[in-house]
């Protein structure tokens, strides 16, 4: 008998074995891939950006493959989905709708607001007790850290509270004291009161912090806020990049992509380690600092590069 004959007998077997192993591996991967469903308002740009940030994570792709996106309007169909699906909701409405379906399994509620958490609590539903919650808001302390880092010579801080932001008042008092800022506050219960509040407040402050509040900051009030602070040479600090584009001096904000990446980390940690602040929900880890340098120049304020300031805020916040 010759060697070529031996080889000829073994090759088909090895080939079959290799093919079988490959097939087995493929079937295994298909069999262990979990379903990830992302629910929200799919028409919104922030939804798509969030999804991109979430999907960018290689481990997420390996574990879940391509996420399934479900619009809020079609959420009822989820009742027929298997209970083991992993669900990510984007925004308050999606969180509420999923909560009403009483789904079990791994759920991460992303881009929720603190106000929505309060709503659940009022209904005796501790949503953060059983699911991970990633808030869209920055911790208010981060704004003060940024103000101290960017505007060290300005110690008079003003805030106009509306009904959605007045909840932060007690914490603001404490933080202002900690950071050596004198605080001047006004409350409004109607949008028409904003102008009077600004007229009274702005002469007394160096910085106006605009907290997320749809009565205080919206497309109607933006002009008043930005022009009045400009005319009083008061620095306006906000919570979104669009505020800076509109004319605010500076903003601290997290992009949807950054929030998507952080959600990916939550999913991979399997939610058991969800507590960052000890309250059952977590704030964004990553954020950007946006600066309007033209406004800074007009106000006579010299500010460093955005990346430098962001680093300074991160370091001071970690202390």
């Amino acid at each position: 008998m010759s060697d070529s004959g031996h080889i000829a007998r073994i090759r088909p077997f090895r080939l079959t074995l290799c093919l079988g192993l490959i097939l087995l591996a493929h079937v295994s991967s298909v069999a262990v891939a979990e379903e990830l469903i992302v629910i929200g308002d799919v028409k919104q740009t922030y939804f798509q950006s969030f999804l991109a940030g979430l999907s960018d994570d290689a481990d997420i792709a390996k574990r879940y493959g391509d996420p399934v996106t479900v619009d809020i309007a079609g959420i009822a169909a989820l009742e027929k989905r298997k209970a083991t699906s992993t669900i990510v909701t984007i925004g308050n409405s999606a969180a509420r709708r999923i909560h009403s379906l009483n789904k079990s399994g791994l759920i991460v509620h992303a881009l929720m607001t603190e106000g929505m958490l309060d709503e659940f609590r009022k209904e005796n539903a501790c949503i953060e007790c059983s699911h991970a919650v990633l808030l869209v808001e920055q911790p208010v302390e981060r704004y003060l850290v940024a103000i101290k880092a960017a505007l060290p010579g300005k110690s008079r801080l003003g805030i106009v509270y509306g009904p959605q932001s007045e909840r932060h008042a007690p914490q603001m008092h404490m933080l202002a004291q900690r950071y050596g800022l004198s605080l001047v506050e006004k409350n409004i219960s109607e949008q028409s009161e904003l102008r009077v509040a600004l007229t009274e407040l702005l002469p007394q402050v160096d910085v106006l912090l605009a907290l997320p509040d749809q009565m205080v900051v919206n497309s109607d009030t933006a002009r008043t806020l930005i022009l009045d602070t400009y005319l009083h040479s008061v620095a306006l600090v906000g919570y979104s990049s669009s505020m800076v584009k509109a004319g605010a001096l500076m903003a601290i904000h997290s992009t949807p992509s950054q929030l998507g990446k952080q959600t990916a980390s939550l999913l991979l940690k399997n939610k058991s380690d969800a507590s960052h602040s000890g309250k059952g929900y977590i704030y964004p880890d990553d954020f950007d600092v946006s600066i309007n340098y033209q406004v800074a120049r007009v106000l006579g304020i010299s500010l460093p590069d955005e990346a430098v300031l962001r680093q300074a805020v991160m370091q001071q916040g970690a202390q």
Binding site: E137, V217, Q294
Partner: protein, 697 residues
């Protein structure tokens, strides 16, 4: 039955509770912050000037009169505010007319200033001056006035010769609600303002009505003769401004305004210029579209139309009364029957203007504004021009201005305007300015600029004459221009120091300046004027009336060099206390021709006050009481007469609030330093008291 009633009660209770719960949930939902708020776009807000700049970066001296200063001054007329600007002089030509000028060198038609209201140029094409009395604009609608002291032809074109006054009115959203004001004062002064500001969807609007009247100055005595000049006025004004946000970054601004006025002039019981009334009807329309691409780029397109129609004519007494001779001698002297003489000042002036502007940031260190403008001016005045067909002037402009930061401590401003019009063809106005930052709040500035002033229609085409009423033949030539005048020219150098405190409670602008003014259009009286005469009037001084053969003519014959020092300081040591100080020291050389045949004149220094000073101090107590003092001084200068002014205004006011709104009552005492004249020596300004009451809901 009991169970049925119970069931109904239970159902009613449940419905009530359910309804209340629904309302409560709706209220809570309204208070619930939505995540979309963090990602919504907001409209980009643009800031003040043509190229928004830090106060320290502006390549010219700027004085800002803000709303607080306007209220503290206690004035009732817009030109009186300009006394607060360093280097400005404001004269009362009569009780119903003003002449406002910078560094003197003016007459009753101050025509070397560009004046804008929300970007609309309001100087009259016929005289080149501003008809302040007939301006459809209420003082209460002004947000602030930015005055650029010095030539600014590079940015605002012809007529921006010695300076630019930029009046910015209040945005409708800022004055929402109802506002009413009433003023009463001496000399039958009555003024009422009613304004409503509202909103319809994305449209903010304000409608303002003003009605005013007064008797003008008191009668005075000149050379032992009582002078009873008629300078009363009545005016009704209406303005409408609408601001519409057409898209997230598109703004449409619409303005309409109209004024109907009757302004008295002439002298009671006078044979030459009897008392008469000039009726004025003027209106304007303005449309502006602004598109903001980003905080670094925006476009603006503006169109406006100004229209002014003044009907003003009178007849003198008969020639025999004018000459003081027996009527039968008039044909002997003048070759015409004894008759009255017609004098006509009626004028219709119109302006159409289209302007485009593009502002952008090319690099982090370079910003640019460029634009183009086309304008059509038209004047019809048989009285001033002795022609029925209109005089037209077409103007075209291209302009550009850049701000470049080659290094953190240096700033270069450079620009040029090319302007062509039918009167003087093409001129180029450049500017170059270099600023060196001594620190973040202080800069040293050196600048050079050139500007031109195109002759006004009256200067280029004047043919103003009095005519005999019977056959319309020429009685006397008042004004005459042979045409072909050159543009006036100014070159200016400045060395300035501008700065502010860290808290922005102190702002100062100091400068040394030198201005060279050439080819100034003089208005000398030609003592032997024959050019227009073809009538049988005998100009021989032995037989004729000397005044018949004289006329005011227009010639590029005067010149001046003005140099000096200027300071504008504004302080707010605390929020309740405001201090504004303006000071100018100027020295002039040169020559102003005021006679021809033979030629004669006066040195330029007579027309430029050596010292101009203003001080406004206002205090607002927490109790609501407000007090302010305004001090104004102008050293010797010549308008029609040599004048020197020191005067003071006081204002005492009390603010109050009620459940419906808030208001104030104020007592204003003006010119309490005593009588003075600031234009002609028999038009005297006297102390006066005013009471003002305003309320807004």
């Amino acid at each position: 039955m009991h169970s049925g009633k119970n069931i109904r009660n239970i159902v009613a209770l449940l419905l009530g509770v359910g309804g209340a719960a629904s309302l409560a949930m709706a209220a809570e939902s309204a208070n619930l912050l939505d995540e979309q708020v963090f990602f919504d776009e907001l409209p980009v807000v643009v800031t003040v000037t043509r190229l928004p700049q830090n106060y320290i970066d502006v390549p010219a001296s700027v004085t800002v009169i803000d709303r607080r200063m306007i209220e503290a001054s206690g004035v009732s007329n817009i030109p009186d505010l300009l006394r607060l600007v360093a280097g400005f002089q404001v004269a009362h030509v009569a009780g119903n007319r003003w002449s406002a000028t910078y560094h003197g060198m003016s007459d009753e038609y101050a025509r070397r200033l560009q004046v804008l209201v929300d970007g609309r140029s309001i100087y009259s094409p016929d005289t080149g001056g501003v008809d302040w009395a007939n301006l459809p604009l209420a003082l209460e609608d002004i947000d602030r006035i930015e005055v650029l002291r010095g030539p600014n032809g590079v940015t605002y074109g012809a007529n921006s010769f010695v300076g630019v006054i930029n009046i910015i009115t209040q945005h409708p959203s800022v004055v929402a609600g109802v506002f009413a004001k009433v003023e009463v004062g001496e000399r039958e002064h009555r003024r009422g303002v009613l304004r409503y500001g509202g909103r319809m969807g994305d449209l903010d609007y304000r409608l303002t009505l003003e009605q005013r009247s007064d008797d003008g100055f008191d009668d005075t005595v000149d050379k032992d003769e009582l002078v009873q000049y008629r300078d009363d006025r009545q005016a009704s004004k209406v303005t409408l401004r609408g601001e519409y946000r057409a898209g997230i970054n598109d703004y449409l601004s619409m303005q309409l305004g109209a004024n109907i006025a009757a302004n008295g002039y002439g002298y009671y019981d006078d044979v030459f210029v009897p008392d008469a009334v000039a009726d004025n009807w003027n209106h304007y329309q303005q449309l502006k579209w602004r598109h903001v691409r980003s905080s670094d780029e925006e476009f603006e397109l503006q169109f406006y139309h100004n229209y002014s129609d003044t009907d003003s004519a009178y007849k003198t007494a008969k020639v025999s009364e004018l000459l003081g001779v027996d009527p039968v001698l008039v044909p002997l002297y003048l070759g015409v029957p004894d008759q009255r003489v017609d004098v006509d000042f009626s004028t219709l002036a119109e302006r159409y203007d289209l302007e485009f502007q593009h502002r952008l940031r090319l690099t982090p260190a370079l910003r640019l504004v460029w634009g183009a403008e086309a304008r059509f001016d038209q004047v019809i005045s048989e009285g001033y021009l002795t022609r029925m067909e209109p005089v037209e002037n077409r103007l075209y402009r291209l302009f550009t201005h850049g701000e470049w930061r080659p290094a953190p401590d240096w700033l270069v401003n450079a620009g040029v305007m090319a302007e062509h019009n039918d009167f003087v063809e093409t001129n180029y106005s450049p500017r170059l300015s270099l600023s060196r930052y001594l620190n973040s709040n202080t800069a040293l500035r050196v600048s050079y600029t050139t500007a031109y002033r195109t002759p006004a229609v009256l200067e280029e085409y004047a043919d103003h004459a009095a005519h005999f009423e019977l056959d319309r033949s020429l009685a006397n030539q008042e004004w005459w221009s042979h045409g072909g005048l050159d543009a006036e020219r100014i070159s200016a150098w400045e060395l300035g120091l501008v700065g502010r405190s860290d808290t922005d409670r102190v702002r100062y602008d100091l400068k040394l300046f030198r201005e060279e003014l050439r080819d100034l259009i003089a208005t000398p009286i030609d003592l032997d004027f024959h050019e227009r005469f073809s009538s049988p009037i005998n100009c021989d001084p032995e037989y004729g009336y000397p005044g018949w053969c004289q006329a005011t003519v227009f010639e590029n014959m005067s010149y001046a060099d003005v140099e000096g020092f200027e300071a504008q300081v504004q302080l707010r040591p605390e929020e309740r206390l405001g201090i504004s100080f303006g000071f100018s020291q100027a020295y002039a050389t040169g020559w102003f021709v005021d006679r021809l045949n033979p030629e004669d004149g006066e040195p330029a220094w007579k027309y430029v006050p050596s010292t101009t000073l203003s001080l406004l101090v206002d205090h607002r107590a927490s109790s609501g009481w407000e007090t302010s003092v305004g001090l104004y001084q102008v050293s010797n200068m010549k308008f029609w007469a040599e004048v020197s002014v020191t005067t003071m205004d006081l204002r005492l006011a009390k603010r109050f609030k009620s459940t419906a709104g808030e208001g104030s009552v104020a007592l204003v005492a003006r010119d309490i330093g005593g009588e003075y004249y600031d234009f002609q020596d028999y038009w005297v300004v006297t102390p006066s008291l005013y009471l003002m009451l305003e309320y807004k809901i």
